[in-house]
Amino acid sequence: MEVVSNAIEVHDLVKLFGRARALDGLELSVSAGEVHGFLGPNGAGKSTTIRVLLGLLRADGGTTTVFGLDPWRDATAIHRRLAYVPGDVSVWPNLSGGETIDLLLRMRDLDPRATRRDELLQRFEFDPTKKGRAYSKGNRQKVALVAAFAAPTDLLVLDEPTSGLDPLMEQVFNECLAERKAEGTTVLLSSHILSEVERLADRVTIIRRGRTVESGTLTELRHLRRNRVRAEVSGPLPDLTDLAGVHDVEVDGRVVSASVDPVGLPLLLKALDAAGVVSLTSAPPTLEELFLDAYRSTGG
């Protein structure tokens, strides 16, 4: 049994476009076998990072390795072990969808007849005989998805893979990804659909303006964040505003709610207990809240 190494390891990555710093000391590590959510607002640098990982862009600083190799020098060796789905797939206007899928598979040294291509065509309800120029946005997306899911691979690099898919197809995508996850495929998933990431990702990295602002498992990230506590009390309402670690206090009749840092929780519970708590709910932050929080709190 070999040591579990990281499939992707990015340290202090810098990428300049002219004078603009698209990536500015980005950190990212994806261990083998995990599904890694890659989040950030528009223009944060997700696609740029992915292009560096694929050896399409040359980094201006930092270290980047995929499977322990340098993507700039060993691009083809790395690419043999991965499949990539961009967020805006462009196909050749005069090739049919079927031809394009087979071409992409053959370019990865795979024999299309030995893959699950036909099964996936059915699941994605995709007509492979139309010419490329006739496909809609979602259907172009399916071309890349079928090619990516058709054969086992060590790593899937997905950059907003479901953009343009209808909800039904999005579900098919989720099933395919779950199957891949069960097989132990490593996945880097950049997406703006947080429920998708929340359901499938083992760990997430949130970036903003080319820098990493959060990274860890969802549980870890939640532990760092405030829970929303809501309580109904029978006695006199306690004054919670002065308690350390308790924020955003709201009072509505006998119901009081507040956001609580992990350190403030014991104090809050003590105060509520004293006030004669009748009912109590505590909700962990959703990924959406974590995400919005991460965007706002870190200045750049």
Binding site: L56, V89, S90, N94, G98, E99, D102, R106, M107, T129
Partner: protein, 524 residues
């Protein structure tokens, strides 16, 4: 009436936007055409010491079926204006028509194919506004180039009346080009196919005129490219012929607009045929992909170049008989006899065809730039395909494709002429010069994909140097900037290895530099 204004709402806005997008393309095109007119008008007069010499030159041109096929006849051999504008009247009028084709296609079908038309269509802009803006821009550009051509000719001392009529014929052919483009743009949903159809229509109209001018003269009256000659702008003009251009342009445009109303946005009148559900096993790498992309185009080019070659070849043997008059015999003897004359003609035709064939190669390079811009190159490079394989594929399509076409052209000319390897040789000696231009285009692609379109400018510069450089008496080193200047004038003169090998070596060098750039730059 309200309906019409509604459908045209926003035309002015879109026109300004289109003009902004074309602020380099159209001025460069117009200025190049104007420059050739001025250079030709200024250079022709001083070329001949006496009016008699000039008439003899005009008669010699008329006597050559190849020249007449290429440029049309000179109706009044005594007219300086008509002699000066020989090349412009018909051949360069083709470039005026193409300017409109490019402008209209760019702002109509290309916009629809990329989906940008949908964005615009969803705004308060009227349904006919985009096509109206494209047509207006083409009309403005045509009027501009016609006006500048007329002004240029007058400034060079040619008769004002003739200059104005000539300019009007250019403006007219520009309008016709726009009509052809707007009709073609309705036929297919593919911008590439639309470009192909429009070019084919322009080509057929030009060839009909060539046949008309050399044999069945009534044909020349049926095509707008014949009108430029028959207008007889410089002496006893038939000004009423000028009406033909706007009438034809209006008919074509009306037909185009009628078809446009009957179809959906993005669709074509000709149906899209379905393709195979599976890819052929051969279609499995970058090289196969590029050749698959070029397949249809190259087949079309092969047929076209082959037909032109046979037509040209069959003209060559007749040239001796036609010129065999008491007056011309001494001139011909001085040029090395009938054989020598035929050989110069073969070389001259081969050098024109070489430029046309270079267009195929540059098209292949700019297509690769389009693939990169749209993200298809990224998709390919994210597979196990190396950058070397991608660049080699493009280079092979450009270089081998054009070399193949040169071979076809030479072989077809030899077949048409009914003898000799001379024609094949004449075509192949052009190859190193074609390669140099294509290598420069590949270098531009390799430095930055957006620069690849400048390959057209490089070719245009070479052609302009060759066409107007000698007339302007530019120094030799300037003329020598064009690789075509160094091609041995085989078979009229002896074949020379040195320039050919040097140009081949230069090609290799430029390609080497291109590769070092391509391997170390960002993709996309």
């Amino acid at each position: 009436m309200r309906g019409v204004t509604d459908r045209l709402r926003g035309t002015g806005l879109l026109l300004r936007f289109a003009l902004r997008r074309d602020r380099v393309l159209v001025p460069v095109w117009v200025l190049l055409l104007t420059a050739t007119v001025v250079a030709s008008a200024a250079a022709t007069g001083p070329l001949y010491a006496t009016a008699g010499e000039r008439v003899a030159a005009a008669e010699a041109l008329n006597a050559s079926p190849a020249i007449v096929a290429l440029y049309g006849p000179i109706l009044d051999t005594t007219s300086l204006g008509e002699l000066s504008m020989t090349k412009m009247t018909v051949l360069y009028a083709v470039f005026v028509a193409f300017m409109s084709v490019v402008v209209v296609r760019r702002h109509t079908r290309v916009e629809e194919e990329t989906g940008r038309a949908e964005l615009v269509g969803a705004t308060a802009v009227g349904a006919d506004a985009p096509v109206a803006a494209a047509l207006l821009e083409a009309a403005l550009a045509s009027l501009l180039v016609g006006t500048l051509a007329a002004v240029g000719n007058i400034a060079c001392g040619l008769p004002a009346m003739g200059s104005v009529l000539f300019g009007a014929s250019w403006a007219g052919i520009g309008h016709v080009g726009a009509g052809i483009a707007v009709l073609s743009a309705q036929l297919s949903s593919s911008a590439r196919t639309v470009g192909f159809i429009a070019s084919a229509v322009v080509g057929v109209l030009y060839v009909l005129r060539a046949i008309g001018d050399t044999s069945a003269s009534w044909l020349s009256w049926l095509t707008p490219f014949g009108w430029g000659t028959q207008l007889s702008a410089w002496s006893e003009p038939r000004a009423w012929l000028l009406v033909g251009y706007p009438v034809l342009a209006l008919v074509l445009t009306a037909a185009g607009l009628a078809l446009r109303r009957r179809r959906d946005l993005g669709a074509g009148v000709l149906p899209d045929r379905p393709g195979p559900a599976r890819g052929a096993p051969r279609l499995g790498d970058a090289l196969a992909l590029v050749w698959r992309q070029q397949r249809t185009g190259l087949a079309g080019w092969t047929v076209g170049i082959g037909a032109i070659g046979i037509a040209m070849g069959s003209i060559v043997p007749g040239i001796g008989d036609l010129l065999d008059t008491d007056r011309t015999r001494p001139i011909i003897e001085a040029m090395g006899g009938v054989g020598g004359l035929q050989d110069s003609l073969v070389f001259a035709l081969a050098s024109v065809v070489a430029v046309v064939i270079t267009c195929f190669g540059i098209g292949a390079v700019t297509r690769a730039a389009g693939d990169e811009h749209d993200g298809r190159t990224e998709t390919v490079l994210a597979t196990a395909t190396s950058r070397a394989a991608v660049l080699v594929a493009v280079a092979s399509a450009a270089l081998l494709g054009s070399t193949w076409l040169l071979l076809v052209s030479g072989a077809a000319t030899a077949v048409g002429r009914g003898d000799g390897v001379g024609a094949v040789g004449a075509a192949l000696v052009q190859a190193p010069a074609v390669w140099v231009v294509l290598a420069v285009a590949l270098l531009l692609l390799s430095v930055r994909s957006r620069w690849a379109v400048a390959g057209w400018a490089v070719l245009a510069a070479c052609v302009t140097l060759g066409q107007v450089g000698a007339g302007l008496e530019l120094p030799d080193w300037v003329l020598g900037l064009s690789p075509f200047h160094h091609v041995p004038k085989y078979p009229a003169e002896a074949f020379a290895w040195t320039p050919e090998l040097l140009m081949t070596a230069l090609t290799a060098l430029v390609l080497g530099v291109a590769w070092t750039r391509y391997r170390s730059r960002d993709i996309g």
